[in-house]
Amino acid sequence: MSTDLKIEGVSKNYGSVSALRDIDMSVERGSFLCLLGPSGCGKTTLLRIIAGFEQATAGRLLLDGTDVSGVPPHKRGFGMVFQSLALFPHMSVAQNIAYGLKLRGIDKARQRDRVEELLNVIELPTIADRPVAALSGGQRQRVAIARALAVQPKLFLLDEPLSALDAKLRENMQIELRQLQRKFGVTTVLVTHDQTEAMMLADQLVIMDHGVIRQSGAPSEVYRAPADAFVADFLGTANVVQGEVMEDGAVMFLGMRAQDKALQVQGAKVEVAIRAENIGVVEKGSPERSTLGRVEFVRDLGPSVESIIAVGEEKLRVRSRASEVTSLSAGQQVGLKIDPELCSFFSR
């Protein structure tokens, strides 16, 4: 039932403003792709082009190898969940879920069976006859997902569907959404600006900014080996600091030296990204220390301790496990342990 999607050279201009530039992307059959980026990066425009609500200025959309660029949205056979969910307020829950089936001319009895089946899947078997306005936020969410999946879509599209929920409910819904997607085996594209959500859901992560794809790959891969400083900064908490390549090829940053084989340009400026959790805090006299810093701010979050530590001009965000740091206080001098192997270097 499910299909694979290829996007080739898609661009979108609004007058002289370019919203998307030459996007190439492919989604494998049955996999879950997240479009992640800050607001205004073009991710929603790209999703709307896939759904058919916007026309690309250039490029092609291939569904199992067939170009669907010119097909109107109602003939594409995709299921979509909208940011506002867009459940029809004049229809009951059952009528909402059955709407796509009704349009396909499926008989009443089979519509009813399918609605019942879906309500069981979303674990809300008793709400069929309720008006949409009488549902809670989480219930509405599930009904919107059920409505989109009822028609066995070739492609399942979601536009920041969880953004209206509170944090706890959102986490539960993420897990449920992932399980539903697996169960139906449907090729899925989800747009979000929440990096935790993207990491949680995606098989494949596509990071966008200013209308271009900055990096794409498995979430762990993108997290561990970001392609540039933007990606490193956007995904997780990273410190991006300035460094300089010395004559012998070593990089000087934060008053420490790191040998890095990728960068051999002497005298060049580089950016170094270091994740907050990859910085160790040690005694100022410890032989393990790579550099020295001064604690500016500490807060104990329970499982972890977050601190801001100044090294020269740079201020680093540091996340330590509570068990590793016994006592940190503002104004204290500490040693920092930074492993260059866990840092990413980008030439500027």
Binding site: H74, M80, S84, L85, H90, A133, V151, E160
Partner: protein, 296 residues
């Protein structure tokens, strides 16, 4: 204490409305009293004679023409107003929107007399339409579009359009672009989206537009008089004829009561329709405010 003060406050706030409506209610009562008067020229004694006198073919035909023309014009006005309201709702530029709104409002601003003379200039036997058709050789004798029901119907439709457009326009506010896109993504073509989503959501606006237009046109006076002449006796014209050449005051009052009963009946029916179709859950059932549905 608090309840007392708040009921006092609601009374104070509704005072202007009460002052405005009191003379009207007084007049209604006066008309009612006159309609059951024992004599036709002054109020004295009680009799239902005026009502019995109405049960003759001339007046019954007048009731029939009134209901027919009001209903037909309501239907046509609704059909014309839905696309107009949807177009105005879809306009993004503030200036264009304002221009459209003013254009639609024009019939409300212009005097009915002037508008009716406009129709006479256009549709009369030697008017623009007939002259053009004759000169192009399409007809040899003028088509009669005035001083018959067609002319009155045209006038009723034209003057009532703004009364329908604005209630429908305000009903379009609950329709977000995402509803239409959701229907479309589920497989609905443009017409299906219109029937399954737009029309049902417009329903409260349509029903209130229909009841306003019906009440307005059932009691129309200037339009049937000027465009229908004496041949189209809608109730407004019939009542005036009873008063002015015939001096049958109690008969006119009884006819007025009949008109009030007809329009009130239609308005009550419309209100019942809204309540039944709106499908709005009781406040106690709603756990959260309605989805705003605003597009991204």
């Amino acid at each position: 204490m608090n309840a007392h003060r708040s009921s006092l406050r609601s009374f104070a706030l509704s005072l202007p409305a009460i002052i405005a409506i009191a003379p009207f209610l007084g007049a209604c009562f006066y008309i009612f009293r006159f309609s059951v008067s024992g004599e036709s020229g002054v109020i004295s004694g009680y009799s239902l004679q005026a009502y019995f006198d109405l049960a003759e073919p001339f007046f019954l035909r007048s009731v029939w023409v009134t209901v027919k023309l009001a209903a037909l014009s309501t239907l046509v006005v609704l059909i014309l107003s839905v696309p107009i309201a949807l177009v105005i709702a879809s306009v993004r530029t503030a200036l264009v929107r304002r221009l459209l709104t003013v254009t639609i409002l024009l019939p409300m601003i212009l005097n009915l007399l002037i508008q009716s003379y406009g129709w006479i200039i256009l549709l009369g036997p030697s008017g623009v339409l007939n002259t053009t058709l004759r000169e192009t050789g399409l007809i040899s004798r003028p088509i009669l579009l005035l001083f018959n029901e067609t002319g009155v119907l045209l006038g009723l439709i034209q003057t009532a359009i703004p009364l329908a457009v604005f209630p429908i326009l305000s009903a379009t506010r609950v329709i977000s672009r995402e509803y239409l896109e959701a229907a479309s993504s589920l497989g609905a073509g443009n017409w299906r989206v219109f029937y399954d989503v737009i029309l049902p959501l417009l329903k409260p606006g349509l029903v209130s537009a229909a009841s306003i237009v019906f009440a307005y046109n059932a009691s129309a006076f200037a339009v049937p008089l000027l465009l229908g002449g004496r041949r189209v006796q809608m109730l407004g014209v019939a009542i005036r004829d009873m008063i002015s050449p015939l001096f049958n005051w109690s008969g006119a009052a009884a006819a007025g009561m009949v008109l009030i009963v007809i329009t009130t009946g239609v308005l009550l029916l419309a209100a019942a329709l809204i309540n039944r179709s709106a499908r709005t859950p009781k406040p106690s059932e709603v756990s959260e405010p309605l989805q705003s549905g605003g597009g991204a």
